[in-house]
Subunit: 579 residues, 2 copies
Amino acid sequence: MPSLTTPFPLLRWLRRYRRVDAGADLLAGTVTAVLLVPQAMAYAVVAGLPPQVGLYASVLPSLAYALFGTSPYLGVGPVAVNALMVASALAVVGHGDPAQQIVNAQVLAAISALTLLGLGALRAGAFMSFLSRPVLDGFTSGAALLIVLTQLPALLGVSTHSGPLLHEVLLAVWRALPAVNWPTLALGTASIGLLALSGLPLRSVLGRLPLSSLQADFIGRLTPLVVLALATVAVAVGELATRGVAAVGTIPAGLPTPSLAFLRASTWLELLAPGMLIALISYVSSVSIAQGLASRRRERIDTDQELFALGAANAAAALGGALPVAASFSRSAINFSAGARTPLAGVVSALLVGGTALWLTGLFHDLPKAALAALIVVAVTPLINVHGFRRTLAYSRGDGLTFGATFVAVLFLGVERGLLFGALLGLAVYVWRTGRPHVAVLGRVHGSEHFRNVNRYHVETWPNLLLIRVDESLYFANASRIEETILDQIAAHPLVTDLVLIGSGINHVDSTGLAMLETLLPALREAGVRTHLAEFKGPVLDRLKGSGLLETLAPGQVFLSTEQAVTALAQPYDEPVSI
Amino acid sequence: MPSLTTPFPLLRWLRRYRRVDAGADLLAGTVTAVLLVPQAMAYAVVAGLPPQVGLYASVLPSLAYALFGTSPYLGVGPVAVNALMVASALAVVGHGDPAQQIVNAQVLAAISALTLLGLGALRAGAFMSFLSRPVLDGFTSGAALLIVLTQLPALLGVSTHSGPLLHEVLLAVWRALPAVNWPTLALGTASIGLLALSGLPLRSVLGRLPLSSLQADFIGRLTPLVVLALATVAVAVGELATRGVAAVGTIPAGLPTPSLAFLRASTWLELLAPGMLIALISYVSSVSIAQGLASRRRERIDTDQELFALGAANAAAALGGALPVAASFSRSAINFSAGARTPLAGVVSALLVGGTALWLTGLFHDLPKAALAALIVVAVTPLINVHGFRRTLAYSRGDGLTFGATFVAVLFLGVERGLLFGALLGLAVYVWRTGRPHVAVLGRVHGSEHFRNVNRYHVETWPNLLLIRVDESLYFANASRIEETILDQIAAHPLVTDLVLIGSGINHVDSTGLAMLETLLPALREAGVRTHLAEFKGPVLDRLKGSGLLETLAPGQVFLSTEQAVTALAQPYDEPVSI
């Protein structure tokens, strides 16, 4: 495994490159390209751009990621959720001019690149981690459902104009229903059926044939291409264009010359916020894919270097006339399982797509749009994570609520506002949860040095002594509640003269927590109670010492263990105590 | 101490009321009223309202709080920071019509009341706790500085029109400087000087006279009234009105009849957000004052009942033609130290202010506005908490940053946006901090059952065994970083076959943390490492069991203590190990 400290991880891989690696990378890159070509065109259409823009987004960006990235497996290019975010951003600034929309997509890629490179320079990738898994899953599920809905007009052969939200799309489709084009619907439905078969059913048939598992796998992966080819042939042979079936039409051959013309666009300011959100989602999803694959082989990726690599890939997308890019889960997984060894597999894919753009665009002239829509529907439907929602809800109601609310917010507020809503809700749920910490009154298990909750165990206690353990860091969201709980306990135990705060669960005390202790300790002293600390962690205690709190604590003391505190402070019950 | 479960805590107090309590309450209520009358008028002026509105806000609301509140000490009425928030809200909807602005102030009080009563019904007072101490202090400091600045025109005797932000006010004052009215400036400066003397210097002089400490205290507290009286006499005798000194003028005598006319105002929607923020600040500051005073006498307040009491006080303010109310720190502290025993002290204050509004408003005709401005400047300047900022910064750079940034944001963005900015920044700083948890590799202290950090202690380790302790709850902000750290450690110890995760510092695992473990455990197993858990807390372990994670853990085991894990798993170094 190469060191991760070079800016060009690829060079390290090449130094120890062997012939067997080349074979593996060639095969994996080819298998991935077979899925990449149709997906790239389809996702460009999702973004509201001509299909060839998706091909452009799969050449230079893939090469840039191969040069800078630390994962050998990532398939970088257009992805579904990003494409929807691009569509949402372009809808706001768009004026119907397709050439201008390509420039706007480049601006989004450039903003995304600058965001990622800026965070990379600050080594601040971890800043992205404020998005929780329920928020990301709810967001992805909502975006996937919206993508499926936006494919309905193409599958029905109707043209609609509507906003991107659930109710807007459904209303527009409902109104257009009388104009449905039946040949288009038949073609789309058949494509979906065939593509769905390429999953389990086809695999099970292939498994019974006398093929190696690699051969069976490869044939299974050809399905999307085969379906698109069949649909194209059907359109051409059946002259379905005359019966109202819309096809992709003429795609210009070749690749655009890299250009900086997008720098002069007037839409930078308007696209700033969406571009930054696209960068955020691209990074979080790509890194989680890369980490998932790397950990299966006891390998590591460098998350800060990944900021540079994804930034470079998006800069290449901007230069190369394309939309923002990220890692695709399906293509990365295929690249991994097909045996990719180094980023050269990605180079192979990029070259094959480049060749397609140069020489094979003529093949797509009769490709029906409904077949592309079918490909999208089958690809993104698994992202609607119903099982994940059920599991999350079963594990934690707060997290399940966040998942569901983010999903609904994306459907009805749109991708950008839905994501912000989810992020804030996730934070609120966390603050709510840690704001209600577990606070236990402890006693000693007879004949031991173990201390347990008096409500759950039969334990030894002392009339003058109260042992309280707080199972959470002291910070602003829980400081006043913890203070209340302690004062309630003191009020309920009027004989107590010594309180021992047990800090084994306190990882941090923020300045609100400190201020709470600074008012609590003198108040307890005025009320005739000495406070002591036990089992506080070294770093926490150091910080409290620096603040001068330990002087406020006097005559209370600091004990290393609860047992020591009890030995020093406990007075036995020397007379019958009335309850 | 009365039980807190009744909706009318006052009744409980009255049941055991004794004669000595009556004397104490009468004295404390009178002392507080002496400060309340001038402050109430002054803060109404800060809010951009006629001075008598401040008096109205001190009668019905004080009585309502006395009936429902659980603190005997709180002085409820107009307060400085709320007054600034009211001014900011009224500036947006204002049309220069003073009668309409009073209605708008009532609407703000009503929204504030509904917010507090709604949260009270949900028993959701703790929801307010997402405001940290540094955010509150930075907010209060910034608001206090803005209040001081808005008094400059009155002190200089100039009239300006400007927005409420720092640079707007300063620019307007700078432009108006040539028109300064010297008699006004002299009167204002003299008032500030005298009021400042009423602090330490006067106390020290009074201390040397043959007075009881209560007498000396009472004389000291008369200073504001004396200064205002002197200034009024100076205006009347010196006929300063003819020399351009602005006075309060005619104040209508009497109290307004409670009325619901404000319900028909058209500004409810526009005032919704500011009204809710005012409720938030009122509650948080009032409860912190009440808790601080109660804890000094080993008493408790009921924070949920306080929501009802403050809601009722604001409803009374809306009905009684006044602005939103809260507890004043200075008046509550005076009430406490003057010996208040029950909420009847607040009733005494309310009746005295009511009498003033009925019969004594004629006294204020010649009261110069500059003297009221001087009173405000002296009252709010101590709220600009420079010492607190230095201490917070010394204790925690993140909290200091939050304090300072909130302060600056209030000055340049205004009270509402500044508060929201501060609240979000406080959350971001907390997520940033807990996103970087302390993760330690442990070894055993020779001859003991204690385990310590290998980097800080000379401890025993084993070639096949890695002990890792995570000192933070596993949640979305740190899950990927903890995963990375663990995988880095595994990569750095190629001989390790057993990893023990020590969970003594883990108070909670959210679903992002669970998902991390669900991918980490199989990845480690594929890489030839069994993972075990030790010292996980009961509730955390229960939840992980429910999720099915423990099946994923197999063949790894769950140990109660680290020592048990080491006993079961450790293999000694049986041959020289090359490093």
